[in-house]
Amino acid sequence: MQNINSNKLILISLIILSFIGIYLGCKSSKDVVSGDVAQAVYVAPGTYDEFYLFTSGGFNGQVGVYGLPSGRHFKTISVFSQNPETGYGYSEETRPMLMTSYGFVPWDDAHHPELSMTDGVPDGRFLFINANNTPRVAKIDLKTFETTEIIEIPNSAGNHASPFVTENTEYIVASTRFSVPVPNADVPISSYKENFKGTISFIALDPKTEKMNLAFQIIVPGFNYDLAHAGKGPSKDWAFFTSYNTEQANTLLEINASKNDKDFVAAVNWRLAEKYVKEGKAKKMSAEYYHNIYDEKKHMAVSEVKKEVLVLDPKDCPGMIYYLPTPKSPHGVDVDPTGEYIVAGGKLATVIPVHSFSKMLKAIEEKQFDGEVNGIPILKYEAVVAGEVQNPGLGPLHTEFDGKGYAYTSCFVSSEIVKWKLGTWEVVDRIPTYYSIGHLCIPGGDSKKPWGKYVVALNKITKDRYLPTGPELTQSAQLIDISGEKMRLLLDFPTVGEPHYAQAIPAEILMKNSAKIYKIEENNHPYKANGEKEAKVERKGNDVHVYMTAIRSHFAPDNIEGIKVGDNVYFHVTNLEQDWDIPHGFTIKGSNNAEILIMPGQTKTLLWKPTKPGIYPFYCTDFCSALHQEMQGYVRVSPANSNVALSYYTGSSSK
């Protein structure tokens, strides 16, 4: 109550202030907002947001789609986790998407969304995202906002430094946060230093087919590889990976992996690695991993099992990889728009170290080495560092850029964003965040040409920011204006799951390509019913295939008899609509599966295994018309040995 009153007071004082026409912040115990923030985030009814924001779902395994500046949530894209709401991972067509060498994996931990790029600028074709737990990378098609490809990463554990892309999306990177024996083996955990290795993987995106392929892996020392970014401009042939636990601890890492003053940023010349692969320097290694592709014409996913991978050993590949010493247990590694500065977020460091790409090349040329690890030269810190940002804040994690010469770094421990100048390394502004910011996002902030305008703080802890909802609270994002000299808080908005990172892109780039329907003429699903005349039921042994159609507001067939206990009933439902935003839902009483939500022109399949005789209603679950309630039907289930004949109809039983 008190809270509401204080908000009212703030608002009333705002009105008075705007009358006087002077700028004045209203300090409450909470935060600072200034006169026209409401206008800055208000998107009037019927008008559109300026940017799409894609947030990772973290432990929900999905991707959230929001608008900026409003913070409105538009969609949750199903990626690594089953979604009973749409049938993703439940329907016969999408189950293969979640197949791995460990069998069917219905969940994952999705961390970093990354937009595909052309010439270092997000192009709006695809969004990639990594699965951290059972290592995978997914590709989301931004015409349909659906996951269309998932590739598993063998010889990996904790695919965290992923899926950052090179300047023209030649490669998508992946590497091991948790080192493991390569190939995996039954060894004592205490033999870590001897047996455990890391891998850095490069997934190629075929420019013609736009399909992913695991091109090669580099075997590296058994550290924890945490985050990555590809270079750009002068550094475009390189990719950079942070590592921690260079101590190679295998227990109580909290203490044991925080001992060294410096860990490493690994600099990988992928162009040279590619050349070494072409020259035959890579060894073929057997490894089982799945590659799942969703065919948008057949409306179904197919899994291919791959059997081998090409592996490069740095010992055989001089000049391919170097270590840049970096204080201390660095998390983010971020390359500025010019491609010259490599900013590392040393989460336990008191400074933000910034490496120089040109100094690094010079140091390599002059062999300014400070020893080596497993054939990987370590460059001298003084020879590669461009500067250090002093007193940035506590726990610097991740940096993005505004394209105007400034960098913005999130500081987890001190809960703030610091703005600092590239080149002089001075801190010019800071703003508190609520609370415990992880990553941050500026539209285009990791690209060659940031759009700037906003920074979104992705906070880990919410506490008292919203109405309480018991022990579990939503995560909280904050929108901050960066168009002026001083950062200005505009808006708090809740997010689903736990966004570890987000990327934003101007709406106009995606809107014009967004699909409205699937053309029914192009639907090549083998069980498609091409119009109501083709609606039918066929029995093949215990398998019963129902070719069903859905249109406002009835199913065909809607009465089915002759189903028996023990049958596998496949409802292949084709949505005959060709109208935007008219999906139909389908489910049946007692279904041990999810529902399916079928888009216009699409065919989806729900498998149902009736266990008891009786009458079972099915119905449309997505409100579609004035007669939506009437969109229903019945299935009669008879005992296994019954001789009730198979029959089906819509409208009259004399079919």
Binding site: S18, G21, Q39, A44, T47, S553, H554, L576, Q578
Partner: protein, 164 residues
């Protein structure tokens, strides 16, 4: 209450700063004058021939069997879920549609049902009677012309009691 104050803030601020909030307001059917009688804003042509991409009378010529065949395919894929030739189903029976409406009206209804349902008095009345809107099945102009040809053909045939 809070939202009222917020709106007031926005209103006052926008007066002071003379800036728009949230971009240009687009003219939508909702914002147009709705008190006018349905159809009052239509031309004579539109009243008779519907609203949509067909804006002038068509030259039909003799019935083209190839076009009829194509029209029947489309009819079977996209129309029969709601229409039968000789009985009322989800929508009206269609064997005589060519006798009830002009060819141009039929094509506009196929190609632009949403606007027809909002603005044309005939269609508005049909929606009130059938309570299901005609769906836009995304036909091209050529597709709609083929369906029209199919209607011209079936109008010459004897009605059957079987669902076609």
């Amino acid at each position: 209450m809070k939202s009222k104050i917020l709106l007031l803030t926005i209103l006052v601020s926008s007066l002071i700063f003379l800036s728009s909030c949230g971009g240009e307001k687009k003219e939508t059917p909702e914002t147009q004058n709705q008190t006018a009688q349905v159809g009052a804003d239509l031309t004579e042509f539109e009243l008779e021939n519907g609203i949509g991409p067909v804006k002038e009378k068509l030259e039909l010529g003799p019935i083209d069997p190839k076009l009829v065949k194509r029209g029947e395919e489309i009819w079977n894929q996209k129309c029969v879920a709601c229409h039968k030739l000789d009985e009322r189903y989800v929508g009206p029976a269609q064997r005589d549609v060519i006798k009830r409406r002009t060819p141009e009206f039929i094509m506009n209804m196929i190609l632009n049902p949403e606007e027809m349902e909002k603005r044309h008095p005939v269609t508005k009345q049909l929606v009130a009677e059938y309570l299901t809107v005609m769906t836009n099945q995304n036909l091209t102009m050529e597709d709609a012309r083929a369906v029209l040809e199919f209607f011209r053909k079936v109008a010459e045939e004897t009605p059957t009691n079987k669902n076609k």
